[in-house]
């Protein structure tokens, strides 16, 4: 193992509480309760440790991070420590005064989610009545406050027919950047896969729409695009490699290589309450288990892409194959890839079942 570089970014999941109930939520099925959450002082110490070890960007996320009344305090603390601060929010708890306080605290950027381009679909998918209208209002307040805005648009079989409308909405709201991300199937999304999975034709149409929009809107808005990997030929470079660039702290302080890592139940994770962050990053069993390439077996081990995609996603290998050390079945070189494609084709061809909404205690 060569020398371990420090992480570039920290995803701080301040809480799992959220007024929305999106059926593809990236939080784990076992949601942490408010009583387990780190205190303000514990978060500040974790932010200090992150900055000291070389983290450059902090993403305040959740759940809904604005549900924590100390968000401004934490943004200010991170900002004063030299970190670039980003807020990832559903927006529905924000108002003009709170946004002004966040600006004053040093917030650099906001990512605001939308579930659809129109209220009916938006409120239904998010499971929150009136949410879409409130988000439109909040987007305008964010821009009026001078903050740069990214719209986070998670797309799937129940809103892909509105993709052009979603892009038009982002332009209308004066967004600087649009993140169009197909659902990734872990946790809640894995459970709701049949209700969300697009057909291959829907995926190809979406990709064509995004490609054309990028060309048409060059220099006006940046569009990032994340594809659904069940139909892929090669896996995504998940997190840029396990324990290479990124770490995540859960509301209760568990330190994870990605937000879905707790779905790999064969690993256990340390907490910032018990162990210094840098020590967890460098020396913990969980972070070293899939770091680099030494853990790989074939076909990854001899693959010339092993330091490009880093074996793909460990959570996906575990979810589909029950073996987190296997090649991600999203890779066409995996012996299980064809089975994965058949799952996607079967899910997307059948009538979509009802959503199982994300809520605490739903299991």
């Amino acid at each position: 193992m060569s020398q371990i570089s420090p992480p570039l970014a920290l995803l701080a999941e301040l809480t799992h509480r959220c007024p929305l109930q999106c059926p593809y939520c990236s939080n784990p099925l076992n949601l942490e309760r408010a009583s387990q959450e780190l205190t303000t002082a514990e978060w500040k110490r974790a932010l200090d440790e992150a900055a000291a070890m070389g983290v450059l960007q902090i993403h305040f996320s959740g759940g809904e991070p604005t549900a924590r009344p100390d968000l401004e305090d934490l943004v200010r603390h991170a900002h004063d420590g030299g970190l670039y601060t980003n807020l990832i929010t559903a927006g529905v708890l924000l108002d003009e005064r709170r946004i002004a306080r966040l600006v004053e605290a040093g917030l650099d950027h906001v990512q605001l989610s939308f579930q659809d381009s129109e209220p009916g679909g938006g409120d239904r998918i998010g499971g929150f009545k009136g949410g879409h209208a409130k988000k439109l209002e909040v987007a305008r307040l964010i821009r009026a406050a001078g903050l740069p805005l990214t719209l986070n648009l998670v797309v799937h079989r129940q809103n892909l027919h509105h993709l052009e409308g979603l892009i038009a909405m982002a332009l209308d709201l004066d967004a600087h950047r649009i993140e169009i991300a197909h659902v990734q199937y872990y946790g809640w999304a894995f459970r709701n896969r049949a209700a969300l999975m697009p057909t291959r034709a829907q995926l190809e149409a979406a990709t064509a729409t995004v490609t054309a929009a990028r060309e048409r809107l060059k220099g006006r808005v940046v569009i990032d695009y994340v594809v659904p990997d069940y139909y892929a030929r090669r896996p995504k470079s998940c997190m840029g490699g396990w324990g290479r660039q990124f770490l995540n702290i859960s509301p209760a302080g568990r330190v994870l290589p990605c937000h879905a890592a707790e779905s790999v139940t064969s690993l256990s994770y340390d907490s910032v309450r018990q162990r210094p962050l840098a020590d967890i990053w460098l020396n913990s069993e969980a972070f070293n288990r899939f770091r680099g390439t030494d853990w790989m077996s074939e076909p990854c081990r001899s693959c010339d892409r092993r330091e490009i995609d880093w074996g793909g996603c460990r959570c996906q290998a575990f979810a589909i194959l029950g073996d987190a050390a296997a090649t991600d079945p999203a890779c066409g070189l995996s012996p299980h890839h064809e089975a994965l494609v058949r799952i996607a084709e079967a899910d997307s061809a059948a009538e979509a079942p009802e959503f199982e909404y994300r809520r605490i205690g739903a299991r």
Binding site: N86, H109, P148, R177, V221, D224
Partner: protein, 95 residues
């Protein structure tokens, strides 16, 4: 939503809101931070970005660089235009 901004000698560039130029002391390099992105600046890019203060025009920036490096102005102009247009298209630079 405005049209695409094109770099010219009269343009007055500055880093866009939501981006930040800083020295990364852990990795000993100059970077521009942007939403979920990081641009590592080589010494030439740093010379250019440091002059993008919202006051100096591209023409003035190029004059300054040509004098400092004793290099042909037209080549510097071409390089500066290319870099600033790329940064503008990525939303990092305002013109």
């Amino acid at each position: 939503m405005s049209e695409r901004a094109l770099v010219g000698e009269a343009s007055v560039p500055r880093l866009a809101r939501g981006t930040r130029l800083q020295f990364d002391k852990h990795r000993e390099q100059w970077i521009v931070q942007a939403p979920e992105r990081l641009f590592v600046l080589d010494p030439i890019a740093l010379e250019i970005v440091q002059r993008c203060d919202g006051v100096a025009s591209v023409g003035a920036i190029v004059d300054g660089l040509a004098a400092k490096f004793d290099a042909p102005r037209d080549i510097i102009l071409r390089d500066v235009n290319t870099m600033l247009q790329d940064f503008a298209d990525k939303g990092v630079m305002s013109l």
